[in-house]
Amino acid sequence: MRYAETGFNLEIDLTRGNVEKVVTDPKDTELYLGGLGTNTKIMWDRVPPEVEPFSPENLLIFGAGLLCGTPATGCNRTIITTISPQTKLMAFSMMGGFWAPELKYAGYDKVVFRGKSPKLVYLWINNDKVEIRDASHLKGKGSIETAEILRKELKEPKAQVAAIGMAGENRVYYASIEQGRSSASRGGIGAVMGDKGLKAIVVRGTKDINLSQPSEFMALCNEVLEYIKIREDNPIPGVMPILAGLGSPQEMKVHDEKWHTENFMWGNSRTRRKGFWTDEIAKEWTETMETARTRLISCFNCPMKCGATISMPGLPTYMMKCFTKLTYAMGAFSDLDFGLRIAQLATEYGLDGFSTPQVMAFGLELLENGILSKEDFPEMPEDNEGRFYYLLDKIVRREGIGDVLANGTYWAAKEIGNGAEEYAHNNIKKHEQLPLKLSMLNPIYFLMYATGEKMNITQIEGQFPQAPFPKREHREKFCEDWIQVPDEKFKQYFIDWELRGENSIPYYPTVEMTCDIVDWQERMHYIDDALGQCAGLSSFPLKPPYHIHNYPKFISAGAGIEMDEEKLTQAAKRYRTLVRAFNIRRGMRRKDDRPPENHWKKRFPELEAELLDAYYKLKGWNNDGIPTKESLQQLGLDYVADDFVKRGILTDVEDAAVEEVSA
């Protein structure tokens, strides 16, 4: 019997309309766990580097995490993997909600799509019955609208639906896949779904998920619940409210937006508005939110209430979470009322809330600066908000200038030329980032931004405080019950970290410490992404209930795979390296590992180079960021090493030379 996982994947060939149920290899589970890990293995095996994002050969994989569907609290993530049309690298955007557990209860760990359907279809998974069905009546429908129609049509109110809106259908490079309260937004995976002619996946399951050692597993779950209660009753002092508790940043609950509105950038990640958050604004925005918000809501089997149902007067109800609350408002220099209104439309269209407002602001910046002209925006309204609605519509329909902007700031700037590139200033690996522009280089964030292939800082950072507390005694206090650290040394790193003076950024934490910290942060995110655990109870917040010390026990008791901290660390390193290798094979190199030029005013090129050198070395990569033969072999990734040599990406000589340089 298979435990925690079902042991079956669905293989869907959309070109031929073929559905197949295949048994998976338990050995792969042991090596790559599940979710992102096994998704990546499939991508490596079956998607060679020549494959373009919109090729029928590109795969679109919906993977449920290894522990999804078990009683492990907060374990509900779907990891969606494909080649991003925007970055041309592997995208592995994720969503919480209810979809992944439902897939497991239907009897599958993953759905792997290949090919392209000649007409718009949806997939209906009802336990053993799996059908590709006509979706022509859903063309142009909103993502939430689509889910509602399908549940009614199929008379299955309990079915879970992942759907794209018009943006995905029209292959907007930052189109999302929406699932009610959750969405997989980054990397333009919705565009790949649209390209494949797939409007939605509906799933309903009523089967069992088994546990290997039930009572041990339940004891672990109960410990986690107890810890959540303690942690919720004892918010961390000295950090801003949204970071003091567990869960995603509590944007739906917390009204005080001084920190975001005054420290994050407005417009096309341009303007910092010190003093914006007045009492008057606070009152107005609080009222807007209180009126709009019907209820704080959760994902499957999780007590955290990171999302909310939002009903703006006169608009259909939708669900929201996290920072999208502010991105449209700030992108347009407007207010929360506008932000929540336009987000309703954008959610139905199925768009990434990070990229979209920046792309629109970028378009208007080009107009203001004469790089685009009035003729490029025919019949555009005069008022600010109206312009954003206008652009949103043009983009999702790919009409006129919208067709160019639909490819994101990087590709749009390239196409427009005439100096437009300078305005596409907030990208990493061609992908729009959080609108943050800061002063002093932070070495931890430098490494995370540069090398985090997840492309989104909120899914890379966490665990380690973002800044030191001003007083040593507070830092010592913080360390007292910091059980999550993989090694005691991290406590000392933090205790010695000062706001000013010798032990402050950019030279403290030292290069070596920085590498350790970033490696730990990344490792925990990668473990989450294989298990399907939400970062909000694990890798993102300070002092989370899940950590490197209890995770191996969860895997042993749940999936019946013998596991300890070392073996888990090794497994996470294995598929993290495989993600790297996949991207390396597609041409990514050290030159691509860099934050936006203007992310910090004060940069330190020598230190940055040193940081990358040391981090690459720790990771087992050579100086160009390519995993070395030796490290690949240590991880059992000999097949990657062979492929690299065959393709001339690695040679024995190069490998040896790198060892010398970094020694």
């Binding site: 569907g69 009683p71 399951g205 089967k207 998920i209 088994n210 039930p214 089997n301």
Partner: protein, 178 residues
């Protein structure tokens, strides 16, 4: 026997739908506790509590499995409370032919909440960290003879499913074993 009084503990689950966050942890732990062997598997479709959940209409109703009924009611009910329209029979606890809820997904046998016999409190309550579910206990004096009633109800449900003859056969066989 008739007329004898005995003390009985009444457990009431207090359900605050305003606090429900719709996460269905109650379904998870319920199906897990009632798995055989205990906790060996979980499957919300086997749960004896269901969250009737429609976020876009702000409908969140945790309902516990009650009695099995062989026939559905002559009519159905549909509530509107505070302007919110609930689905037909939303608040009914019966395992009833009119719907799939509170039946084993494979066998179709009825499910019924037993308040997690043997545990300090029903586990759905323990796992509801948002306090939408809370339990209250009180003692009441009741007439004896209820166990008999329960037995008969159980037999009735089996008889409905398999026919009285088969039940009689089974009882005969079982008594011979002793």
């Amino acid at each position: 026997m008739k007329g004898d009084k005995k003390k009985k503990t009444i457990k009431t689950i207090k359900i605050d739908v305003d606090k429900c966050n719709g996460c269905r942890a109650c379904e998870v732990i319920c199906s897990s506790f009632h798995a055989a062997p205990k906790y060996s598997s979980n499957n919300p479709a086997r749960s004896r509590i269901r969250v009737i959940r429609d976020p876009l209409r702000d409908v969140y109703v945790p309902v516990y499995a009650g009695e099995y009924t062989v026939a559905e009611c002559a009519g159905r009910d549909k509530y509107t409370i505070d302007g919110k329209e609930y689905d037909e029979c939303s608040f009914c606890r019966a395992s009833c032919p009119s719907r799939d809820d509170f039946k084993e997904p494979d066998s179709g046998l009825p499910l019924k909440c037993d308040m997690c016999e043997g545990e300090d409190e029903p586990l759905c309550v323990k796992w509801c960290l948002v306090d939408a579910l809370q339990v209250e206990e009180r003692e009441e004096e009741v007439e004896e003879g209820e166990e008999q009633e329960e037995l008969e109800t159980g037999l009735e449900s089996l008889a409905d499913k398999y026919g009285m003859d088969k039940i009689k056969d089974a009882i005969t066989r079982l008594s011979q074993k002793d």
